[in-house]
Symmetry: C2
Subunit: 360 residues, 2 copies
Amino acid sequence: MISEPPVPDTSVLAVARNKIAVFVMQSLGCDVAALNTVQFSNHTGYGQWKGTRVTAQEITDLWDGLKQSYLDRFDMMLSGYVPGAAAVEAVGNIAKELKTKSQAKPGSFFWVLDPVMGDNGKLYVADDVVPAYRSLVQHADLILPNQFEAELLSEVKITDLASLRTAVETLHSKYNLPHIVITSVSLPLNTQQALPDGPPPSRTMSVVGSTRTSTGKSRLFSISFPVFDAYFSGTGDMFAALMVVRMREAVQNAASSYSLKDKASWLSDDDVGALELPLAKAAEKVLASMHEVLSRTCEAMQKELGAALAEEPAGDGRLSDDEKAKKIHLIKSSAAELRLARNWGCLRGPVIEYRAVKLE
Amino acid sequence: MISEPPVPDTSVLAVARNKIAVFVMQSLGCDVAALNTVQFSNHTGYGQWKGTRVTAQEITDLWDGLKQSYLDRFDMMLSGYVPGAAAVEAVGNIAKELKTKSQAKPGSFFWVLDPVMGDNGKLYVADDVVPAYRSLVQHADLILPNQFEAELLSEVKITDLASLRTAVETLHSKYNLPHIVITSVSLPLNTQQALPDGPPPSRTMSVVGSTRTSTGKSRLFSISFPVFDAYFSGTGDMFAALMVVRMREAVQNAASSYSLKDKASWLSDDDVGALELPLAKAAEKVLASMHEVLSRTCEAMQKELGAALAEEPAGDGRLSDDEKAKKIHLIKSSAAELRLARNWGCLRGPVIEYRAVKLE
């Protein structure tokens, strides 16, 4: 009755906020060692929170603790939000060590790096985090920047398809990066693509991915999907965690005369086209899960908001207008929390609706 | 294909080590807010670890953070390992606040307390943690001590069935405790109970539970189960997390003329016998999951140990005997880590093999 996990035994070191990411990877059968970079009462989208951030020293100590007990054998690593340049460097040192250790056995370690720095033109980390990531990404196997972060790393402003291609090719060449997925591109890339039936979405966005060839050329694909008219926190973490698992799965399933999983960085041969890339297949499954979870979250959110706002009538005389606005924002933030635990099926067996298309 | 979660929407505040507990509760459909009491590189059974413990102040801050954003509505709370008497007190204050807030709506909040203090006659917390728990447990709905912790709280030494009964009745009367499960009783309680076919286990143990009547009398049941010949860390946390969910489920499913879930502390009427208690039904399911997960863990452990010890021949000349013994202990500890992520089915749909019997 219960299907087998999509990946073989997979041990992942997760250095991130981890509230969302750990459960997602565990749900898909991964054994996860969680190094939590924050312990906050709630996510920062609420506008207020309490709690603590991990220091660079604590990251290094925890890593030393793993090593001294022979617990440092990982198939994959996911790094997400890391607080501050020194901590980013500490995380990079862990990844570099694992990378070096794996060199005798190509493909035995794969680092997925989500360079969390900002969004929509605004940094939400300290300025010195940007150069810290710039000097690190060369060691990653797959990076998952959003459009703004891709611009920061490539130093190319993305305004159209040509500059998007330049940005991706710069990331491939400048940092020798094997795989790239830009998680939120708002250019109209392939509006000719048929979207499923139903009311037209308010707007669509795309993810754009590429696995480089042996000569450093890009193999670009994009997948467009409708955007829900609400803000959900944690979608980046969910995307990254799903990508870890689905990439491993796609590489295991890749049809080839040799075993792709035994090649360094899981780099497909040059004759593999953009749409046949494991990266593209993985991204399709990831977006399918994302869309299903967000749909269920939207439904639950509407229901909860209806009830909560009926309970808290707008005419609460004791609160000032500012206080009322703040309270409504907090209630909305809570209602928009991702519904993961009750939607295991969306993570495990999503139905693919949005397909990759080749970007010429 | 994927079954519905066993409980309705359930929001749990988990204040514990949480590595095991959070995943278990999420797997069964609960929405979990995790307040982690430690961030360690590995569990302490390895004999060495690095990392940090949360302070009482941090616990209080995180709770304040939840409250200020209206995130303090919980159906249940699980508290497990808490470092130090001041932190235990801080956790108690959270539970008391939630309890007080729920008084207008009986049964709307339920606190499961695992009073982690020691095992097998030895304390592994500071001495002042014992009185801290003694002054707290009166506010809990269900406590999950092991035999040693039950002795510490009741101040009754458990040596036979009569003293076991005295200990449980003391816990009911002294602290007005609604529900008690002693998680590891090593007395020969009901050896006449038929165990499933197969080679005889090296030894059996029992859990012993009771829900008090309106006059404070006990309703004692026990469930015996075979013990695996290996040490697994985290079984207490797994037991507690499963108990949270299965208790909620059993109370929802309880046949009665009124709704048991709307009664304070989910206290069954006096005419409900020991074996019909939701507590007994919950414990049966919990033990079924435990046994299945531990069986799978045992299998995986044997395989891993075989491979690891072949790789590390005993005749490694560079290591002293002490170093060799330490290394083997570390390898064994790692091999014995609970296999949860790949055994979701054992958590979700276990087959009940060990049944509760009434203790006369």
